[in-house]
């Protein structure tokens, strides 16, 4: 249908402007070239980092003179890199679970009920997404100093959970709004209590949104640098902190190996979240 419409479109334009035969649409060609260049700019870093991580050279060079796994070996052999990676995974995993549980519960309340001040609550919930990370970082640092939560595992987990909850709520609320409330009413009229209704009717229907939200929550914590810089401390150093140090001092090619693994990981994980979200919308 769309293709037919586009053809019709072109035919009408040709007719109206009295063009005869085939002319090269120069404007469109220029637009296509320009767009291709912008897209190249967007993917260039990925195209550079992946081949470079397999470089056999001892310094940065592109294209790599030969292939080797030396930078990957270096990554896995060095305790500072692996410890930071494990710490990041531990923090992000805990954040994911906390943020998902809290976020799903809050979404149910926000979508299914109305109460005075709901606007304000909504505003508070999305604001961690727009308030600059540096402000969140020093604000939380300010109270953590007094609460003795600086340089603790749970301190970092709680701070990251605040940043991750909005992603869960945005995703879960979107799917929840698409759920036909009559299905829940039908379950209840057949004798299901609130919990059973949620567990056997609502939960399966919103699971794609929960999955997407959980993935975004994991990545939000896993990639977070600025808050961690202030409150994680040297012993609880996360992977982004280790990378930041590496980039500040010398540009260590080990980072190419780390970066490549991160690209593959986040693209796979986020693409599956995006697919889940789209599927839940089209249903």
């Amino acid at each position: 249908m769309v293709e037919r419409a586009a053809e019709l479109d072109r035919a009408v334009l040709m007719h109206v402007h009295g063009r005869q035969g085939f002319t090269i649409p120069w404007g469109r060609v220029l637009l296509a070239i320009f767009s291709a260049l912008v897209l190249l700019y967007l993917v260039a870093p990925v195209l550079i980092v992946l081949p470079m991580s397999f470089s056999a050279a001892k310094y940065l060079s592109f294209p790599p003179p030969g292939l080797s796994l030396q930078w990957y070996e270096n990554f896995f052999a060095r305790a500072d890199w692996t410890a930071a990676t494990i710490q990041s995974i531990r923090v992000a995993f805990t954040v994911m679970i906390l943020a998902t549980v809290l976020g799903v519960a809050a979404s149910l309340a926000l979508v299914r009920s109305s109460f005075p001040g709901k606007e304000l609550v909504n505003l508070i919930i999305v604001s961690p997404l727009v308030v600059p990370a540096i402000i969140v970082a020093i604000a939380i640092y300010g109270i953590y100093v007094r609460l003795h939560l600086v340089q603790t595992f749970w301190g970092l987990v709680l701070a990251h959970t605040v940043l991750a909850i909005p992603y869960v709520i945005v995703n879960v609320s979107a799917t929840l709004r698409g759920v036909d409330i009559r299905l829940e009413q039908a379950a209840q009229s057949l004798g299901a209590n609130s919990w059973q209704t949620f567990r056997y009717v609502t939960l399966p229907l919103i699971s794609p949104g929960i999955f997407a939200g959980a993935v975004f929550a994991f990545i939000a914590s896993f990639d977070e640098l600025i808050v961690a810089l202030f409150i994680a401390g040297a012993r609880g150093r996360t992977l982004p902190m280790r990378m930041f140090e590496g980039l500040r001092m010398e540009i260590d090619p080990t980072i190419a190996a780390v970066s490549s693994m991160l690209i593959v990981f986040s693209v796979v994980v986020l693409a599956s979240a995006e697919l889940a979200r789209r599927r839940s919308r089209s249903d």
Partner: protein, 300 residues
């Protein structure tokens, strides 16, 4: 008792019952919301309010000393103006690069557009540190780009493309461009093509049809993208810290150094307040113009 009285009694009993049920449901919902709300209040709202107070209250009296320092010391005025200039430049570049791209994608068949959109989403999903690293590899003195340009004889000595404004703009635009393209594309997709056909039928040239019909209709998406890019650019830390020069310090870096090296929390709090107020004002404009729900519905 007449039948209508019986009916009225039953109705009121039933409504009392349903009211109680309603009340129970409300209580359940509030209990579900409470943990998240408490957490956000204790770890987000309260800390930020405390920050605001710290910036004007030294423990004994109110003071505007820290704000006076921001506007009186040249260095800090320069940091503020650099921050706004960079945010403005990045927004402009994103507009110039993003609008044509979004327009082009919107004219393609949906299937093709979705495939090409993956190229916008892959960098969007990649950590900022990874992308900054890649740009450092590309742009540094001995970097990939310089070496290619030298080999091809286009330049005689390496260009300085990093540790200055160019590096910051290239890196920040790369991170923020998807925030322009995604909302602009979403709005452009929704524009009814029949309107353009109608304009053509009425004798408008393709350029005129674009200018008078398409462009105005696409403005909400462009406005959303621009405001978002501007807000996010103001608070940027990683890219300017790694790719900027000494003279390109932005406000987030200044806040960081004030705390980590000067240990001057009240002054950092004043700087943070300035950044926060500006961000929230633009955010409020966004909300008034476009509604909050549009902001994060489209993507990550």
């Amino acid at each position: 008792m007449t039948s209508s009285e019986v009916l009225a009694g039953r109705v009121s009993r039933e409504s009392a019952f349903s009211r109680r049920l309603q009340f129970q449901r409300q209580v359940t919902y509030l209990l579900l919301l409470l943990p998240t709300l408490l957490m956000l209040i204790v770890l987000f709202v309260y800390p930020i309010l405390r920050l605001l107070v710290t910036s004007v209250y030294d423990g004994h009296q109110l003071t505007l000393e820290h704000y006076r320092r921001i506007v009186e010391v040249d260095l800090y005025v320069r940091v503020l103006s650099t921050t706004f200039t960079i945010a403005f430049q990045v927004t402009l570049i994103c507009l110039v690069l993003g609008y044509p791209l979004a327009y082009f994608l919107a004219t393609l068949r949906p299937r093709t557009a979705r495939l090409l959109m993956i190229l916008v989403l892959i960098p969007f999903w990649t950590s900022i540190l990874v992308r900054t690293y890649a740009w450092m590899v590309l742009l540094q003195r001995q970097g990939v780009l310089n070496r290619w340009l030298l080999e091809w004889g286009l330049i005689d000595e390496p260009l300085r493309m990093m540790y200055n404004r160019i590096g910051v703009l290239v890196g920040m635009t790369h991170v923020l461009l998807p925030f322009m393209v995604l909302p602009a594309y979403a709005v452009m997709r929704g524009i009814d093509r029949n309107l353009l056909r109608a304009a053509a039928n009425l004798g408008a040239s393709p350029f005129h049809a674009f200018l008078r019909v398409f462009l105005p209709l696409s403005l909400p998406g462009v406005a959303a993208g621009s405001l978002l890019v501007f807000i996010l650019a103001l608070g940027f830390f990683i890219t300017p810290a790694l790719m900027g020069g000494r003279t390109d310090m932005m406000i987030a870096q200044l806040i960081e150094t004030q705390i980590r090296t000067q240990l001057n929390f009240p002054f950092a709090a004043a700087l943070a307040t300035v950044l926060l107020v500006v961000t929230l004002v633009i955010f409020a404009i966004y909300n008034r113009l476009l509604g909050l729900d549009k902001m994060f519905g489209g993507g990550y």
